[in-house]
Each structure stands twice: as C-alpha cells, then as structure tokens.
Amino acid sequence: MSLPKRIIKETERLVADPAPGITAAPHEDNLRYFNVTIQGPDGSPFQNGIFKLELFLPEEYPMAPPKVRFLTKIYHPNIDKLGRICLDILKDKWSPALQIRTVLLSIQALLSAPNPDDPLATDVAKHYKENENDAQRVSQEWTQKYASGD
C-alpha cells in the first residue's frame, strides 16, 4: 500500500518546519504511525512538561481523522486514563482540511484550556469544576512526575 501523497507532504513539512513545542516523527516501519511530543504550554499547569503521544493515520485519512492518544499520564479533564482525548476535531468536527500539525496544535491548545464541561475523565473534570486550583496543582504534580522530559 503506497502512501498517499498528502501524508508524505505533511510528514515532510512537519520535519522541515515543525510547529513550536511540537515534534512528530513517523515510525520507521509504519509511516502512518507517528511518535509525537507536545510541550506543555506556558502558563498552564502542564508547563515544562513534555508529553508523549502516538498518532496514527487510518486508511481513510484525510477523509477520516487521525487517531491520537497520550502515552504520558496527564491529569486533564478531557483526557482519560488511557490517554484518549476528547476533542471535537478528532470526531465529528473533523475536516480533511485539517492536518497533523493542526490537530497537534489543537491538542496543545486543549492543554491550555481544559474544558471540564465536556469531560472525558469525569473525576478530573469534577475536580476542576469544584476546586480548579487544587486540580491544577495535581496537574502540575503529574506533569513533574510523569512528563519531566527524561
């Protein structure tokens, strides 16, 4: 199965012109599988953390969204224990005009702006809603604990 031109192009561009705070590199064996890192945005509880993700481009891509998952544990209302992400563009709001880069940037933005009203990890969301500061503290702890970048 040859790789669609679009994927090649996206990969090239990700390598040549990476988005700030984001890296994405295809797996050697499977060019549809990417190892991704996202830096926690400044000013967020995830600051200084480096989060590992995996991203997979399904057969139907770009007509279907990529599959993305956090590999690093993260305390975030829209990301569950398994690393799954609740993000509209990864679901029904997906458009083929979006790209890996835009998806990853959106995830980065999600770290800055958790949305506990549309939770995936309900306990985390509850925590955020009831006591945002305490929740952010836990997030910070987790970041230091799991995403310290070593």
């Binding site: 669609p4 031109k5 679009r6 192009k9 996206e10 139907e60 770009p62 007509m63 279907a64 709001k93 458009s95 083929p96 005009a97 790209q99």
Partner: protein, 1113 residues
C-alpha cells in the same frame, strides 16, 4: 426406327442413337418392358421380370433422396440436372418423383419423365456441348492405359456369349446402339433396370464398398459381346468411376476378355482388360452453364449445384483413372496427400448442415447493408498461411523508379510494388517469376499402347503429352501457359504501407497506350461473362477511337478527398488532373477524362465513391436505355480502394464495380480476406481472373474443400494469390534484413481503472439480474434462442462501464452543460458581493483574483489544484476530486456536505463551481478564468481520459491525440468533457456527411499551437483515415476482436508517423471488459460477426463466449 420399335403408346420414340438406352428399360409397364426385352434380349426375359418392380421401388426412392438436395438448386431449366439421376421410368415409382420434384421449378418433372425416352440427345451435357458426334474409332482418341478387371461378373447363363481374347464392348447402357457406340456426350443416366437390381440382390457378397450407396444405382457399366448382347457388368468399385468417365465423354473403352469360363453362369467372375482411350472431346475446355451471380446461387448456397457436382465427379473419376492406370504427372501441380473429393464433399456438406447458413447483416460499400452467409471463418493462422506463398519471394523483386513527375520519394518496397504493378499492367511478367506452366496444371505423357491392339493407330514415336488440371478436372492437349487473363491484381499491403502513394506512382508510370485493349472486359449488362471462349463474347461497338487513358478510383466516401490530396501532393503541379466525382453536382465525366488536345499530357484521374458507383449502376440497371457516364467510359484503369467494401459478391456495390469497363483493374485492400475465403471471390470476379471469377469454380475448388478442412483449398488460394496478389507486412524485412517499413515504436498501455463507488453500485445492480437471467436461460438450454436478447443485455453492461448515463438514460442524466451556464468571473463576483455584503465581496474578489494566478494548494490533498472547485457559499477552494470525495464520504455517513475549510454547509456536488483556466490560444487572448457549475457527472473512464489529457497538455502544449470509442453516445459525453476542459476537439463518425468529415480531418490536421483532439467512432474511422499528425491514441472501450482495435490504432501508427505512438486502453476492473479481453485473447476472429449482427451466430463457440462473459471466476 423408334416408331416401329417403341410401340408402347405413352413413350416418345427414342432417336436412333439412343435406342438401347431407351428401350432396355422402358418400364412404363412391366408388360411392355418384357415385350421389348423379348425382342432384344431373349434369354433374360423370364429370369428377371417377376420381382423387378418391388426391387426398384425399394431402392429408388432412397437413392433419389440422396440426390435430393442438389435438385432444389436447379432452377434453370437448361441444366443437365437430371441426366444422371435414376430414371423415373417405372410407373410405380413415378409417384415418388412427382412428390419430390413438385417443389422444384416446372421444367424438371418434364425432364424426369421424358429424358429417358426421347429427350436424351437434345439434352447435351453442359460441360461438353460441343461434342455432338464422334465415332468410337475417332482417330484422335488417345490411349491412356489399360485396366485389368478381375471381378467383372456375368449376368447371363449359357454358352457362347464370350470367349477369351474376344473383343468386349464396354458401355453405359444408354450408349449402346447396335454395335455403334453412341456419343458419350449424351450420357443419359443409366436406366434403372429392374433386372439389375434383382441381380444385385442376388449377389450380396459382391464387394460394394468402393462406391457409396448414393451412386450405386446409376453407375452400371455393361459389357457386351461383339454381337451386341449384354453378358456381364463391371463390378461397382470399377464402374463407379468408369461410368462417370463414359457419361462425361472423357473416355471410351475397348475391352478384351482375358479370362472366362466357357459357360457363363450368373454371377461368375470374369477377367476383362479395359483399354481406355481419352476422347478428343475430353480435351475441350469446360464450360459452366450459369452466371455466378445468378439467382440460384443466392437461392441456396449451401447445396452443391449441378454444375459443381458434374465438375467434381468428372475430376474425381479422371483422377481415379490416372491412379488405376498408373499415370503420374511429369511436371506441374503437386497433388498428393490430400483428401479425396468424396470425403471433401461429404465433410463440407456435413459441416454446412451443422452450421446452418446464418444470415448476418453486414454493411458493405457505402452503408449498403447486405445479408451474408456466416460461413466458416478463417483463423489468423490460416490467413497467414494463405499469404505466405504469395510473399515468399517478394523481397527479391526488382525495383522500379517512379517517373520524374512523381514528387515524393518511394521506399524500396514501394518501388518493388511499382515494378510489379507496372509489369502486370503491361503484361510483362518478369516482376515475379512465374513458372511457365499454369500453376494449377500438371503435365502427363500418353503411355505407349501395347502392340497387340492395333485398332487405334495413333502411335507416334515421340512421347505425347497432355495436361490435366487436378483442381478443376480440365484436360488439355495444349500447353497451359501461365497466362494472365486479367490485367491488374490485388495490392494487399498492410495498412499504413503507403498504398495510395504506390498507386499514384503507378498512375504516373504506366500511361494508357502501352496496354492493348482488353477484350475480356466484363460487359456492363449481365450477360454471361464467364465463358472461357472468347468467341462468344459480345462484340461491343462502343469503344472510342481514342485509347482510354483515364483512371477511375473508387474509394469509401471518407477517403475521397484524401485520395485527391495525395494524388496532387505526389505529382508535379500540372501533370495530373484529379476530379472528385461525388455529391449532387457531378460534372461532365466525359469532359473530365478527355485530353483537350494532342499537347494535353495531363493524367486524368476521377475519384468516386462506392455509393455513387452503386447508385449509378442502379440507374443503368433500372431502364434498358439508362446509362451513366461512369459505365459508358472505358477506363484505362480502375482502382478499388479498400476493396473489401465489395467483398460480398451479391451486394449492389460489388455488382457495380464488376460492371466498370477498364483495361486494368486493381483492388487495393489491407484485408483481401476479411474472414472467409469467399471474400476473395468478389475481388477475383472484379479482376476477371479466370476461371476463378466463376463462382461455381471457386466454390467447388475452394469453398467446399475448405469447409471440409481440406488443405487443398488453401493450396489453391495460395496459387491464385501468387500470381495476382502483392502483400507486404510492416514487419517484413528486405534482402538486407532491414525492416521494409521503419515505423516509430508504439507503446501500448492498459490502464486498469477502479469504479467509483456509485458507478460500481450501478454496474452491479445491472449485472446481477442479467447474470441471473443468463443462468436461467442456460439451465433451460435456451441460450441460443435468446442470443440476441443476451447480446442486448451485454451491450447495456458495456455501456455501463463507460458511463452510467449511457444506461440510465434520461432519468438522472445530468443536464448537458451549455454555453449559458458558463458563468463569467465577474458575474460571480457580483453575485457574491450582493449576497454577502462588502466584506464578503472583498474576500471573494481576493479569491477570484488569486484564481487568475497560478495554482493554489488544495486543502485536502495539499497538492496544486488541477481543477480548482469553488465552494459557492464561502468561496473556499478545493480540487475537484478531493471535494467530491469528501462530499461523498459525508453523504455515506448521512451527513451533509460542507466546506472542509470553514465547515460552511450544506454543500452539494452540483453547486460546486469549476474554475476553468482557459488555455492561451493562438489568437493571443490572455489566459482567463471561466467558472462553470459542476453539473456534469463524469465517469471513471472520462476522468481517466481528462486526467491523462491534462497531463499531456502540461508535457506538450500542442499535442495531438485521437480518442476512439464504438458508441457514438459516449462520443457525445467525451465531447462535453473535452469542451469543459477547453480542448480543441474534432469529431468523426458515421453520421457525418463527407463534407463534415473532411472538414473535421483537415481542421484537426491544420497547424496550431494548442492541443487538438480527434474523437473518432471506431467503426467509421477504423479504415483509411490517415491521422499521423497525432501520436497519442486513447481507446475508451474494447472491441470484440483485437484486429479492429489495431486497425484503429494504425490510423495513427502508419507511414508518415514520425514520433513514438502512445496508446492507452482504458479498462475498468471487475467488469465485463476484462472478460471481453479474455475472449479477444481466446480467439481473435470468430466473434466479431456474431456479436455485431442482428441475427446472431448461434454456434457453440459463441455460447462458450457468452459463458465466459458470465463466468464466475
């Protein structure tokens, strides 16, 4: 004499010569017969009478049926049809005859009942009418050999009939006349002697295998003693052929009793030596009695005609004779190792019986439809074999330079052709060495006659030769020179070898005067044209004082101007005057072909079409005084281009070309044999190439043997073609081993496409019920009955592969976009601006401005947009394929389409606006942008085509391409697509008149800096067209046989082509197309007729093919 002897009332008196014949078997009533027998053959009386009638009845009807088929054929009253048939002499059997013969035309029953008695002498055998009387002692009779017959059998008992060494007369019953042997040219059929049959019944042990049942009854050869008493018969295996020889006046036989018992008993074996002499009449030329185009030939082509049978039997018997007497040819045609004629004939008939004459409509000439018999087709191998012999020595042929007035340069093989053609026209035969003896003939030497029979004195010391044509059965004493009785031939070089140019060179090289008048030209009206004897030829007084000098070229309508152009192009200005005689205002032909004065040396050429010729001929035929200049003028030369247009000899076109008067005749065609050997016949007829221009000959010696799988057929065709056909193929090499034609390479690519989901759905929904239907019919065994129906269904599938609209019809058919729907950019801006206010207007303007610039990136594929599509609501862009794919994936999920960039929706396919970047044109208009609504539904194949064409345009901005499809409705769609793409395109199909076609071709060929595409219907443009200015070919669909496709491709890949030719076949995977290709591969030739005709061929082969179509693998 007859009056006195034949007192039996109802009988006509037989003339003297036939006394024995008539008398011996006059069985109107057994009693009368017995009376007469009493007079002549006293001893036999009591012996044979009692059971006679029964016996005859038992045998005769069976026999008659055996001969039944040919009789229906014999409509002409003057045919010798019934002479060989058993006589219907017994009243008891007469009923059978009446009932059978009542289906045939009236004269025959008369023959049946009268020939026996009185009609004999007047009914001369057509084959030898000139032999009226000759005595057995005719000095010209030549000894040919002796045959020892060891098992002749007596049919009398008693002493004194014969002694050893006595002379024995060997006669057919009806030939005997009181010791004077009658003229064997009056071979009345052997009477049906009831006595004889009885005798046979009495002798069951007699070997009977040599002669088959059919001929048993009428091949009795009797032996008489010197006093005229019949005492014995020849055994059937000998009499089978001896009887024919006697009947046809080929031989006379003088026998000697070698050994016999003193007292004969019935059935006792006798040893007789037969001394056989060739009668002078045997060496007379054969004649056939009818015009090949006569109605009877049409009436029933499958049955052997009387003439054919006579020819065949005569030939077979002679061959048998030679074999028995041990004569072998000294020189000439090799004739060994082939099937016997009997075998041939029976196999042929068998095959014909299996293969019912399928009438297949074919289009011949200019759209003339004709039903042809779908007889056995030739395979490619056989065709190759046929041409091989004609080609084997061609590379060594000499060259001939074209005259100075010829402006082009001829290639080597073209110069060879010129020499060959020129020498055929002038009658010099040195171009191709031909053996001095006619290739169909063999030379035999008369054997020396043993001394002891001194009756025939013609003993010369020198060896005397005679000649025999084993194919036709003709005998001759004269040396048969390999003379040509037609000036001209068949130029059958493969397509694209420059046949037009060769002919042009010939026209300029070989001018009038150097050929003597053709005496053997075909008369314009349908008199008998086929006699060998020129003396019978009507002397036509209308020949002009001036020798004819003009050339008439007959070509398919589409090629007329091409001919005219080529002729002019290849000749120095002023040396040739070419008139295209076509259309309503045909000018005065007489003026056109006459040179104005002595100094006028221009060559006159008239180019006309088959259609015109046929209609002019119809005019001539219609009224007795109707005439047409084209048939009045005696041409110096007539050339039929694409001569296979008149391959069907019964078509009006063919008859018209036969009627043209000309001294030299040329048939030019790349396919002299399209699929049957009989295709060749029409050309031979046109060429007046005797004797093959006689249909009976052709049929007897070519068609029937071929049907019987006798290699002889091919052999004969080879021999014919060797002398009149020149065929070179592109891949042939000259003596130096170089290819004679250096054509640029041809690259053929099969593009296997995948259906879009919707198309797949449509196709599958069509296919499933058709397949079910097929399986049902197959299970019921009704396939062949519903063949046409199945073909119609197949046709739908084939269309569905091309474009769903071709099967869905008007429903769901997208509106064909027209000019009004092409929106101007500015209009678009205005619309948008009004709708969305100033800000949107600004954006829209930016967008549209950017459109004018180069290539934006599609947000979906991230590639440069080939055809950008504007989304009407937001003016975002996408490339066409991407946005369509996106919309359809969303629709599959039950969601509405929307903009991928801004999610604005809903969005429908038809709302998209296509941005057309107009190509820079020659007129210097700046490239602009045109918008058009995406309201045209494309298809997989169309998409593939446009994609390839776009790519091509990028690589070569002034490419020339030819697109073929067999469906004109698909051509319409292709046109729409190409128009949308902004390509200059030209169309060529069968519905266009000549003027339009020519215009299309010449515009396509005219120089221009922009790409041009020619859309051609496979059928209309398959032949003749010369499109070498293009070097890209796109085949949109596949035809049932590959040859037709090749022919189409050769419009481009032919002489004059300088570039590599790229051919692309589009096939959609998992459709009927793949199966068609498989059939193509399976066997190339057979299918084409079957699937085209209205009434289809139902043989098993076709059914097999259908099964492939619907196979499950």
């Amino acid at each position: 004499m007859s009056d006195t002897e034949m007192s039996d009332g109802p009988l006509d008196g037989p003339p003297p010569g036939l006394f024995f014949a008539g008398s011996d078997d006059d069985e109107p009533a057994p009693v009368e017969a017995s009376q007469k027998v009493e007079v002549q053959n006293v001893p036999r009386q009591g012996l044979f009478l009692p059971d006679s009638d029964d016996d005859e009845e038992r045998v005769f009807p069976k026999d008659f049926k055996g001969k039944g088929a040919p009789i229906e054929d014999g409509q002409e009253s003057d045919l010798p049809d019934f002479e060989e048939l058993p006589r219907a002499s017994s009243p008891s059997s007469a009923g059978d005859h009446v009932s059978i013969s009542s289906s045939s035309p009236p004269p025959q029953p008369v023959d049946l009942f009268s020939s026996n008695k009185g009609a004999g002498p007047s009914k001369k055998r057509k084959l030898s009418p000139e032999i009226s009387l000759s005595t057995p002692q005719a000095t010209e009779s030549m000894y040919i050999g002796e045959v020892l017959v060891t098992n002749a059998f007596s049919n009398v008992s008693g002493k004194g009939y014969i002694k050893p060494n006595e002379v024995v007369q060997v006669k057919r019953e009806d030939q005997d006349d009181q010791g004077t042997s009658s003229t064997p040219s009056n071979p009345a059929p052997p009477p049906k002697k009831t006595k004889q049959l009885t005798l046979r019944a009495m002798m069951p042990t007699r070997p009977a295998k040599a002669s088959n049942k059919k001929t048993k009854v009428d091949t009795i050869v009797r032996l008489y003693n010197s006093r005229g008493f019949e005492f014995a018969r020849l055994p059937t295996e000998v009499s089978a052929w001896v009887a024919k020889l006697l009947d046809y006046g080929v031989v006379e036989i003088n026998g000697t009793m070698t050994d016999c018992p003193e007292k004969l008993t019935v059935g006792v074996s006798l040893m007789v030596t037969l001394n056989i002499y060739m009668r002078p009449s045997a060496f007379q030329p054969l004649k056939t009695s009818k015009d090949a185009d006569g109605p009877r030939a049409l009436f029933n082509e499958t049955a052997e005609t009387m003439d054919e049978r006579v020819l065949r039997e005569r030939k077979t018997s002679i061959l048998k004779l030679f074999k028995v007497v041990g004569l072998t040819p000294r020189a000439g045609a090799n004739f060994s190792g082939r099937k016997s004629d009997e075998q041939v004939h029976e196999e042929a008939l068998k095959r014909m019986a299996q293969h019912k004459p399928q009438k297949v409509k074919e289009v011949v000439g200019d759209g003339e439809e004709i039903e042809t018999e779908d007889a056995e087709n030739l395979s490619m191998n056989e065709l190759d074999l046929i041409y091989k012999k004609a080609q084997h020595n061609d590379s060594n042929m000499g060259l001939m330079e074209a005259p100075p007035s010829f402006t082009l340069t001829l290639r080597g093989y073209q110069k060879q052709a010129l020499l060959w053609m020129n020498s055929l026209e002038t009658g010099a035969m040195d171009a191709r060495e031909a053996s001095s003896m006619h290739p169909l003939w063999s030379q035999y030497a008369f054997p020396e006659k043993p001394d002891f029979t001194a009756e025939f004195i013609d003993l010369t010391e020198d060896e005397k030769f005679f000649y025999f044509n084993p194919y036709s059965g003709e005998l001759s004493l004269k040396f048969p020179k390999a003379e040509r009785n037609c000036r001209g031939g068949i130029l059958a070089d493969e397509m694209g070898m420059g046949k037009t140019i060769m002919l042009s060179a010939l026209i300029q090289s070989s001018r009038a005067c150097d050929a003597e008048p053709e005496t053997a030209e075909a008369p314009a009206n349908k008199s008998r044209q086929l006699r060998l004897n020129k003396a019978f030829r009507p002397n036509r007084g209308d020949s002009k004082a001036r020798t004819p000098s003009a050339t008439l070229i007959v070509a398919p309508t589409s090629l007329l101007t091409q001919w005219a152009d080529e002729l002019q192009r290849s000749s120095q200005p002023g040396t040739m005057e070419v008139v295209v005689w076509h259309g309503s205002n045909r000018l005065d032909l007489h003026a056109a072909v006459q040179n104005k004065d002595e100094d006028d040396k221009t060559i006159k050429v008239v180019v006309t079409s088959y259609g015109v010729l046929a209609s002019e001929h119809a005019k001539v035929e219609k009224s007795s005084n109707g005439h047409s200049p084209v048939f009045d003028i005696e041409w110096f030369r007539v050339v039929l281009d694409e001569a296979h247009h008149c391959k069907s000899r019964t078509s009006k076109t063919a008859k018209a070309v036969y009627a043209v008067k000309a001294r030299c005749r040329w048939a030019v065609t790349g396919t002299p044999i399209v699929n049957r050997l009989e295709d060749l016949y029409s050309l031979l007829k046109f060429l007046n190439f005797k004797p093959w221009s006689d249909f009976a000959f052709f049929r007897s010696f070519i068609t029937l043997p071929f049907l019987a799988r006798d290699p002889k057929a091919i052999e004969v065709v080879q021999i014919i073609l060797e002398s009149i056909l020149l065929r070179r193929e592109k891949n042939m090499r000259d003596t130096d081993g170089n290819r004679i034609v250096e054509l640029p390479p041809k690259e053929v690519v099969l593009d296997n496409l995948e259906f879009a989901p919707l198309e797949r759905m449509i196709y599958d929904s069509l296919y499933a019920p058709i397949k079910r239907n097929f399986e049902k019919l197959d299970a019921q065994g009704l396939l062949s009955k519903n063949y046409t129906h199945i073909l119609a269904m197949l046709m739908r599938l084939r269309r569905a592969v091309l474009h769903p609209n071709l099967v869905i019809g008007a429903n769901g058919k997208d509106k064909v976009s027209s000019k009004e729907e092409i929106d101007d950019v500015n209009e678009m801006i205005q619309k948008f601006a009004k709708g969305d206010g100033a800000e949107g207007g600004k954006f829209a303007e930016d967008v549209l401005n950017s459109l004018n610039e180069e290539a934006a990136e599609c947000p979906i594929c991230l590639d440069v947009m080939e055809i950008p599509m504007l989304l009407p609501k937001c003016l975002h862009q996408c490339c066409r394929d991407c946005i369509l794919a996106f919309i359809s994936t969303r629709e599959e999920k039950g969601e509405e389409g929307r903009c991928p960039t801004c999610s604005k929706g809903p969005l429908k396919e038809g709302e998209l606006v296509e941005v057309m970047r107009a190509q820079p044109t020659a007129e210097g208009k700046p490239p602009g942008v045109v918008l058009r609504r995406n309201d045209f539904r494309s298809s997989t194949k169309l998409e593939a085509l446009t994609k390839d064409l776009r790519k091509l345009r990028d690589q070569d901005p002034c490419f020339r391409a030819v697109v073929f499809s067999q469906f004109t409705s698909f051509l319409d769609l292709i046109q729409i697509v190409l128009e949308r793409e902004g390509f200059d395109q030209y169309r060529f199909d069968g519905t266009m008149d000549l003027k339009k076609r020519n215009a299309a071709v010449s515009e396509f060929k005219s120089a221009s800096r922009s790409p041009k595409i020619m859309i051609v219907s496979l059928k209309a443009g398959g032949v003749g067209l010369n499109l070498t200015n293009a070097n890209h070919v796109f085949m949109m669909d596949c035809w049932w046989n590959a040859a037709t496709e090749h022919q189409a491709i050769d419009r481009v890949h032919r002489i004059g082509q300088e570039k590599t030719v790229y051919v692309k076949h589009y096939l959609v995977n998992d459709t009927i197309e793949g199966r068609i290709v498989r059939i193509q591969q399976r066997k190339t030739a057979i299918i084409k007729e079957a699937f085209r005709g209205t009434q289809a061929n139902k043989d098993s082969e076709s059914i097999e093919n259908l099964k492939i179509m619907f196979g499950t693998d």
